[in-house]
């Protein structure tokens, strides 16, 4: 296996596993997740629930497809777009000085927003390489 293919599969599997785990952790308690989104104070009350009940399954689906190796480019693109949104939310929380949980991987103390920001940048790198290293010579 060439280095390029190795890098592609490594990025794809890491990205997929991250999103699958993050989605499952959030889906286990969507009400708590709604509270964590509400803590960002970006959305009206009921919309926090709308995001909390849908986002985990989008993450599970995208992560699962990446691991499975199907629709990889679409899934990688989606994870990148979602991560850009997350980065925006985290930045806005940091700028407003909110002391809140990231809410990134289910509930849990000690997830600082700065760390979450760094991790999201790492995710963007993974998504970038997954998208661009994906072998395109295969017939559609």
């Amino acid at each position: 296996m060439s280095g390029r293919r190795l890098a592609y599969h490594g990025c794809r599997l890491a990205l997929g596993a991250l999103f699958l785990v993050a989605g499952i952790l959030k889906a286990r308690d969507v009400t708590a997740f709604a509270g964590e989104i509400a803590a960002y104070r970006l959305l009206p009350y009921a919309l926090n629930y709308l995001v909390a009940t849908t986002l985990p399954y989008v993450e599970i689906l995208a992560g699962g497809l990446l691991l499975w190796g199907r629709k990889v480019r679409g899934a990688a693109l989606l994870t990148a777009l979602l991560t850009v949104v997350f980065v925006g939310a985290i930045l806005s929380a940091l700028l407003r000085g909110l002391q809140i949980d990231c809410g990134c991987f289910g509930g849990g103390p000690g997830q600082s927003l700065w760390f979450a920001l760094l991790r999201d940048l790492g995710i963007l790198v993974l998504a970038h390489f997954t998208y661009h290293l994906q072998p395109t010579s295969k017939p559609a």
């Binding site: 009400t31 709308l50 009940t53 679409g74």
Partner: protein
Amino acid sequence: MAYDRLSRDLLEALVILAVGVLIGLSLHSRLLLDAFSGRLQPRAPALSAPAARFPAPIDLAGLRRELQRGTPIVDARLPELYAAGHLPGAISLPLADLDQDLAAFLARVPRAQRLVTYCNGYGCPDSYDLAVRLLAVGYRDVLVFEDGLPAWRDAGLPVTEGETP
């Protein structure tokens, strides 16, 4: 060519998003209906939390430190007393109405957030009782300003009047 591929990938991403959203909507339609109709009730507190945590008392100096850090201050007294005068920026969460007000409070203040409760000083147990209840529903760090509003006012510090925003 490249543009075509990008738009096809975007379409793929959109489809994944839509399917995920639909799964979430169908799995949680009840919760969503409740949330959008404002009927959402607070859940029973999780009992897995570490047993027997107690709120820690702080004095006026401690309270001022917490205020500087932006810690939310929670007024445990009745709404009429709150309206008559409260700490600037305090959130009104009367112990007597807790069952009714808890859901909104939970949505507003994350459980990881440190809180300070207060009421009318040493003659008033409500701030301590409220702190115990907040710990029981999952707040991790609740402090009690035991000296309460009287000590604050006697120190010549500003008191805000009026209803809660």
